[in-house]
Structure formats: structure tokens, C-alpha cells
Symmetry: C2
Subunit: 148 residues, 2 copies
């Protein structure tokens, strides 16, 4: 199994603000994709849509305020299904840190290469959101290659 | 062992231009760090310096024009020594693609998380260099967290 790892630090933010940006629809919509909604009555499933390119349905496995969020991919591209995505939040002096892990990829495919760089750009969008109030969610996301 | 993977695509560039940016001192200095020099008479060792933060000495293992570059880290931070960094170049329609792999990390440490995101930003700097002639090498690199 192969994992994608990343780390960002937002200056003059807080673990609570990072947690809200990772758990509230408004927050998620401000850095990852503007098309995000609950997919079940219990609020455990979240659907993230990226125009006609695709979508992901995440099951919320864990939410510890100010500390940690973990999802499991329930639906979406075949190589994403069953993988897990976690965000570990901490504070170091003036920086709110987010350690990111997307684990359980079955092979180091071109898709995994693409998604790793794309995650970096979205996490930089989260950093910008926390620092300035303005992120770059889809469809305003940064293009990295021929797949967008 | 753990690997960092990334992919970028530069529009209206060429595999030959990407290869030069990965092998010539002038090219390397325009996207990774402005302080780069040969470290031996044979030209097989390249030293990349990042101000007082640190440095890496790479041994060139492979250089196939327009196709592939591979380095092994000979000196630098302890967790980098012995790891390998490769760039596989290809063309897809109007995009020159670079598949990046930094392999052989002994553990998924905070340093590895940081370096993965930092590599993404430097590869975006390479993309920008190939597309516009202007990259963002150290010391003009993008800050991602409390370690820079």
C-alpha cells in the first residue's frame, strides 16, 4: 500500500478554525470544491462534486474538535474507493499545522502521482483560507497538468 | 520504504526543455535553488544550497535526453541520504509531463510530510519556468508551513 503525505502551516489561525474548515460544509466548500453536500440524513456521508470531472463520497470516520478528522472514500474513482484520508491538527507557536495522509493506494499509478500534487495545491488553498479568508476551491483550483 | 510522488504538465514546452531544466545548472537554478554548482571535476555531483537552512549533494545516476533523470542523495539531511529522486519526462498532446518520485524514505515522518508539499511547490515552479520562463527557486520559494 502507498500513501500520499503533506503538511501545511497556517499563520495566525487556530486549530478550531482548521477543524471547522474540515468539517463544516461552508468551510469545505471554501478550499476543496464549491459543490459539497451531506449525502445522508445522519450527516455521516459527504459528497464532493467537481463539475463533470468526478465526485467523491466520504464517510466521516472520526472528528475530534481541534485535533483530527478522518474520512473513508465510499464512492468515486475506482482507485480511491476504500482509501482513507486524515487531517491531524496541532499548534506550533504562531502556526496551525495540518498533517495530511491519504492512505491505502494499491499502486503508485499516474493517477496517484497526479492526486498527490493536486492535494498539495488544495491544501495550500486551505492554508490561504485560514490565513486570508480566501481559498481556491474547484472550479477556481490551480491546474497542475493535462488532467487539470 | 515510503515514496513521494508528483506529476506536473507544462503546456507548450518540450521534453528537451524539461530535460535541460533538470540537468543544466542554469535550469536547475531557475526552479529549485539559485545556489547550485558542480561538486566534482567529473560533473557527476551537484550541490544544491538553501541559504543557511541546508544543502543536498546529488550524484547523477542517469540522464537520458528528453526522457529521464535520476539522482541519489549523497549528503544533506540524514533522512535524505541514500534516497533517490527521479524525473520521467514524456509528451501528451500539448503537455510536457514530468512524473516525479523521491523514493526510499525510511519512515513517514513530519519531515517527509513537509518535503512532499515542498516538492509540489518546487515542481510547480518548474512548470512555471517551462511555460513562462520564470520559476520561483529558493530564496523566492513559496512558504508552506513553520519550517518554510
Amino acid at each position: 500500500m502507498h500513501d500520499i503525505l503533506h503538511k501545511i502551516g497556517a499563520k495566525s489561525s487556530s486549530p478550531q478554525d482548521a477543524f471547522l474548515a474540515l468539517t463544516q460544509l461552508e468551510g469545505l466548500g471554501a478550499w476543496w470544491t464549491n459543490d459539497v453536500k451531506r449525502d445522508d440524513a445522519a450527516g455521516k456521508l459527504i459528497r464532493f462534486t467537481f463539475g463533470e470531472t468526478g465526485f467523491f463520497v466520504m464517510k466521516v470516520l472520526e472528528q475530534v474538535p481541534g485535533k483530527r478528522v478522518e474520512w473513508q472514500v465510499m464512492n468515486g474513482p475506482e482507485d480511491w474507493i476504500g482509501t482513507r484520508i486524515s487531517f491531524d491538527i496541532s499548534q506550533a507557536d504562531d502556526y496551525t499545522l495540518v498533517m495530511f495522509r491519504h492512505s491505502g493506494w494499491s499502486e503508485p499509478s499516474e493517477s496517484m502521482h497526479h492526486c498527490s500534487t493536486k492535494w498539495a495545491m488544495f491544501l495550500m488553498s486551505l492554508k490561504s483560507l485560514l490565513e486570508t479568508g480566501q481559498g481556491s476551491p474547484h472550479p477556481k483550483d490551480v491546474s497542475i497538468d493535462n488532467w487539470n
